[in-house]
Amino acid sequence: MIEGGPFPQATPAEGLELSPEELSTLFPAHLVLGADGVIIDAGPSLRRQCGPDLLGRCFFDCVTLERPAGVGCMDGLRAHRRALILRLEGEQSLRLRGLLLDRGERLWLMLGHIPDLQAEAGRQPLQIADFSPTDGTLDMMLAAEMRSGMLAETRALATALEEQRNKAEAANRAKSAFLTTMSHEIRTPMNAVLGVANILADTELTDEQRDWLDVMTASGHSLMELLNNILDLSKIEAGLMELRPEPFDLRELARSVHGLFAPAAAMKDIRMTLDFDLEGSVYVGDSLRVRQVLSNLVGNATKFTEAGQIAITIRDRVEEGRRLVELSVKDTGIGISAEAISRLFRAFTQADSSTTRRYGGTGLGLSISKSLVEQMGGDIRVQSRVGRGSTFTALIPLAMTEQADAVRPVPAAVPDPGGPLHALIVEDNATNRLILSHYLRRMGHSYDAANNGQQAIALWEEQEYDVIIMDIEMPVLDGLVATRELRRRERALGRRYTPIIALSADAMMQKRETALSVGMDSYLTKPVSLEEIEERIRTICAETSRQASG
């Protein structure tokens, strides 16, 4: 930086005389014109590109001047004395730019190449030696090539990523399909295992035999819980877990969960309390999933607490314009170390492997709960001290509503439909038919049995039934087609409406919706207990009867 005034005048280039080699290196594409416009010398680049015939030719015969345009004589060139852009026609058509130096008899055109960046690689006539070392054009050419290289690399990466994503999605779909099939295949025999255990429980048993039966039943239910958890996790991972918000009574839900776990806690002399600090009662959300989360937290507290108490607190508050419901479960259990908390919400991970050995479980519950709460827009937090206990808090945004009427009532006591019913069992699995038959006998109902939908329609043609319990997957004619046909014939023949309860090994929500859409009234997932089927028959028949009379 020069201080204190204007820049000094540029030093004249006295003594700067270039040797021919230096001139050729610095200006490999120069031209020298004589007074008559004849090319009398050229740099090595132009000699190489245009051949030896270039010398001696008239400049204006072999050049197209782009700038200055329209100049066709030496005087015009001299008068211009500015930047030049020209195209030199020869063996190769070369585009050049540069400056004109007027040295009396001779004009010196100090030029450099303008490469055609669009030309294909093989058609680019220029070489590195055609450019002056002081010319940045070569760098720009390389930069352009590198940009296109980067673009190609980015495209290749994007393609590879897309392929990998497609493969992952295909694998995920295959996994979901496998889990659905596995679920179906396990549920069917489990229905038999638990159903027969249920039947056995009604028979004369010794105390020892009853103990063994209890173990068998409990193990069956554990297996079903595991199966349901794996299915949930699969749906969450595949992004197929759908929330179904509707108004529900949060207090009632919490009381129900408390009622479910309080007896087990009491057996360990643990006091389980339930407190509310809620502004309302009816909230809008997926009650099934809210219940699942609260049940998981309370279930864990019950499992991991040996003495003391478990406090369930349900609060709500408005934060940043939205209402947050807080489900808090505080226990005096074994507690969790800070290190273990970091992996607590990962699937198949419990605090440590000894936890699995001592308390059982798969470690799926918290992972599923966290995913569900996050899908609802909330979060689960945990505070814990080893040996002192833990507090799990699920924060879920749930809108409050005053529409108490919108809450689907859960009948405390379903009215008796009024005497024995005549039912139709439609089930291809002989063991399941046997179990359902036993259940219906226990309930005091009579029944007929069909192996498939076609037999069911034939039996229905001959007589009226009060209720039909219909499997979905069956040979010859499946439950969905049979139901659609029964509903069609009811309308066509003016027969009275027969409630149909679907009984399926498919636990996916989609199948439930399909079943209801073809005209089934309710959907039960195998394995089904005597109590479940009894409650469902009462509910459906009462509802049908009310609608018929109303």
Partner: protein, 181 residues
């Protein structure tokens, strides 16, 4: 060095090993991602460690591995963004060698962290070329030898190459086989 070197290493490795094994080598070499970006800069230690891992996996002595990698590098660069500028390097082997410094100068202006070597054609005639190679890195003369051999092939020249240290540089003597040899 820039990721293009790593990409060329991958090309070389995948001739003998699977993609999964390559990913494993990358992981063992300290790479966080399973891919190398061409214009991303990696420390020399990272690049050298990866070269060492590949050489071991391919069960090649270091010198032999570097020569083979140098040969592959010319093909790899020719098919990459450098391809066009390689084509512009000259119509014959000597012109190519004379253009190397200019080429590296242009590359350096686009890859500011590149530490480029220097090549000087000391003498050249129909029977031999003497080339002086200077680099801040040590031990890569076999890699250069592989590059020179592959470059000679590009111009249909059969050559025998020897190298030896000389005044802080490496002197390459390239013996050119005539049409009757």
């Amino acid at each position: 060095m820039y990721g293009m070197i790593h990409q060329a290493l991958r090309d070389m490795a995948l001739r003998e090993i699977t993609e999964a094994e390559w990913s494993d080598l990358l992981r063992r070499g300290g790479h966080a991602r399973p891919v190398c970006i061409g214009l991303e800069y990696y420390s020399d230690e990272t690049t050298m460690a990866l070269m060492d891992l590949v050489a071991r996996r391919l069960d090649l002595p270091v010198e032999e591995f570097l020569q083979a990698f140098g040969r592959l590098w010319i093909d790899f660069a020719g098919a990459s963004a450098y391809g066009r500028i390689l084509d512009m390097a000259g119509d014959d082997f000597v012109s190519f060698l004379q253009s190397l410094d200019r080429m590296h100068s242009s590359i350096r202006s686009n890859m500011p962290r590149a530490d480029m070597p220097s090549f000087e054609v000391v003498a050249a005639d129909a029977r031999a070329i003497r080339l002086r190679y200077r680099s801040s890195r040590e031990g890569l003369a076999p890699f250069v030898q592989g590059i020179l051999a592959a470059a000679a092939e590009r111009f249909d020249e059969k050559v025998t190459i020897r190298h030896a240290p000389e005044d802080g540089a490496v002197r390459f003597d390239i013996l050119r086989a005539g049409p009757d040899d």
